[in-house]
């Protein structure tokens, strides 16, 4: 029997994975993936909760998050490509022009 708690645990795990990825990854592409994981973890949570309350707004939220995630990917990849074209690497240690 799977309860809401299990969903939360799943969310938590996914979220943590996302966070770790965000912190550890030096490849921009991977970094973006991790952020996607974050968002999807949240989606899971929302859908579960909305089912629990029989309230649609949760799922609504989930859908919007998906949409936003998609557009984020669009923008992110755009930036990524720009950057790659400029100095052929997607390693984020390469962007350290500005500091201090």
């Amino acid at each position: 029997m799977i309860t809401l708690t299990h969903y939360f645990i799943l969310t938590g795990i996914l979220f943590s994975i996302g966070l770790v990825g965000v912190m550890r990854r030096t490849n921009l592409l991977m970094l973006f993936f991790s952020t996607e994981i974050l968002l999807n973890a949240i989606n899971v949570g929302f859908v579960a909760v909305s089912k629990y309350y029989n309230d649609l707004s949760g799922q609504l939220f989930a859908f919007f998050i998906i949409a936003v995630a998609a557009s984020e990917v669009a923008v992110g990849l755009g930036l990524l490509i720009l950057w790659y074209k400029r100095n052929g690497s997607v390693d984020l240690n390469s962007l350290q022009m500005m500091k201090g």
Partner: protein, 495 residues
């Protein structure tokens, strides 16, 4: 066999949606126009955009209907209106900076203006709603548009800035979602007022849940408001993006963020959950102080201004922490005055912008660039000096009155220690503003060539600077009316 859903159009209260609608239409219109007619001049595009903003402005001012609308996701209350007014005015003042003497690629593209308008729509959505979903959408719309705008500047630094901003923004979005999820899970609603009701009824139990949600929300908004430790993007992004955009970023996204923060944290602070108060306190003090200290050691004026705007944001968070009517009034007053001054300061940077980095291989506006400016261009130097003094909170210039009102708000609600810290911070802050003044007025010039400093000057820019200067010097005159209006609206929306 579904029942047809009947919705009374009046109950939708579409006028509430009108302001956003106008700009969306405007954005699309601009793109279509660009498709139809090739090579539209940037001046045309700018002015069209400004016109749409003015229309929007009219709609915002004109609207005094019932507070909620459009499936009750919109909440058009006092602070929403003030915030929108500030946003729109700022946008209308910052956009014409595109009409600089030198041409920049982004300003020739219609997309820039479309994105600009979409961004404004996003901000408006953030402020006119207390529905977490809509706020999220607004947040993301504006942010995504903003990332793109930054990147459009098409310099290596601009890309770096955009990427940094974007990535951290994505993380922040994650935090926001998480916080929303927890609130939803706790209360089964995504409407702030509903959440508040439920939590109140439950005396904020389970507290840990509430706190977790708060923490994530703090993370998300902290990023937008550049609170420590999520402030690290600010200087880099400002440095990377063009001066007008940087100035814009220092004002508009923050005000939107503040409104959201107000809506969310007011409830928590007033809830009497001391923890939140303490955390906010710490965040405020840290933000002010750390930013100030770092600003002391900057070599580049733009970066310095970035840090200074962080510390100003710290002051604003203090207002939210205090949370009295006077404090919220102070917030808007401060931000209005700050807007004009910052507008002026960044416009000056925009004017003295030179194609090549003559003074420093990395920085566009190192302090050394301005040394002895008073001997080369007295007027420019004096105006810049006035802006610096104003930012430093030197009476009787604009920001001083905001600071005055804020400190007084702090004192009146017995936040004496906070008031002292704010005061001390402005004492520290004065140094880095003075530094520029000292370079301009007391040092010997490195070059006698006045042209170097005027390559980007143009009439519109000068006009804008003029407006900013007038507002900065004669702020006294505007303080009283501003106070009355703002107070009225703030009280009206029950803060």
């Amino acid at each position: 066999m579904l029942e047809p859903i009947l919705i009374d159009v009046a109950s939708l209260n579409l006028p509430a949606l009108l302001p956003m609608a106008i700009l969306v239409v405007g954005a699309l219109a601009v793109i279509c126009a660009d498709l139809a007619v090739k090579g539209l001049n940037r001046s045309f595009l700018t002015m069209i955009t400004v016109l749409f903003i003015i229309l929007d402005f009219g709609a915002v001012i004109g609207y005094t209907g019932p507070a909620r609308g459009f499936f009750d996701v919109l909440l058009v209350d006092g602070i929403a209106i003030i915030a929108q007014v500030i946003i729109l005015v700022a946008s209308a003042l910052f956009l014409p900076l595109s009409l600089s003497h030198r041409h920049f690629r982004e300003f020739r593209m219609a997309e820039f203006y479309a994105l600009f308008m979409f961004m404004i729509v996003g901000f408006q959505c953030m402020v006119v709603s207390d529905n977490l979903i809509l706020i999220f959408i607004g947040l993301e719309t504006s942010s995504l548009a903003l990332y793109t705008l930054i990147a459009l500047h098409n310099r290596a630094k601009a890309f770096e800035a955009a990427i940094k901003y974007f990535t951290m923004g994505a993380l922040a979005a994650g935090f926001y979602g998480m916080s929303a999820l927890i609130f939803y899970a706790l209360t089964g609603s995504v409407e702030i007022y509903q959440i508040e009701k439920v939590l109140m009824a439950r005396h904020f139990e389970p507290l840990i849940g509430v706190l977790a949600a708060t923490v994530f929300m703090l993370g998300a908004l902290g990023f937008k408001l550049s609170l420590v430790p999520s402030h690290t993007w600010t200087p880099d992004v400002y440095e990377g993006s063009s001066a007008p955009l940087a100035g814009y970023m220092s004002v508009v996204p923050k005000i939107a963020g503040f409104v959201v923060a107000m809506r969310l944290f007011e409830m928590l602070v007033s809830s009497g959950v001391v923890w939140v108060e303490h955390i906010l306190y710490a965040a405020v003090v840290l933000t002010m102080t750390l930013a100030n200290l770092t600003a002391l050691v900057q070599e580049d004026v733009k970066r310095m201004l970035a840090f200074s705007s962080i510390s100003h944001a710290g002051f604003m968070m203090a207002a939210i922490l205090i949370g009295t009517t006077q404090a919220n009034t102070a917030l808007f007053l401060y931000w209005t005055l700050f807007m004009f001054t910052n507008l002026g300061a960044f416009t000056m940077l925009w004017i003295v912008r030179h194609r090549k980095n003559l003074w420093d291989e990395r920085y566009q506006h190192p302090y050394t660039k301005f040394s002895g400016l008073v001997k080369i261009m007295p007027t420019t130097a004096t105006i810049m000096g006035i802006f610096m003094f104003a930012l430093a909170g030197m009476p009787p210039f604009s920001v001083f009155w905001g600071k005055l009102y804020l400190i007084s708000a702090a004192i009146n609600s017995e936040f004496i220690f906070l008031a002292v810290i704010i005061a001390l911070n402005s004492a520290i802050a004065v140094y880095y503003y003075m530094k520029l003044v000292i370079y301009m007025f007391l040092k010997e010039p490195v070059t006698a060539d006045a042209k170097l400093y005027a390559t980007n000057a143009s009439t519109p820019l000068k006009v804008i600077v003029g407006v900013a200067v007038i507002f900065t010097i004669f702020a006294i005159v505007f303080v009283e009316p501003l106070l009355t209006v703002i107070t009225k609206y703030v009280i009206a929306s029950g803060f």
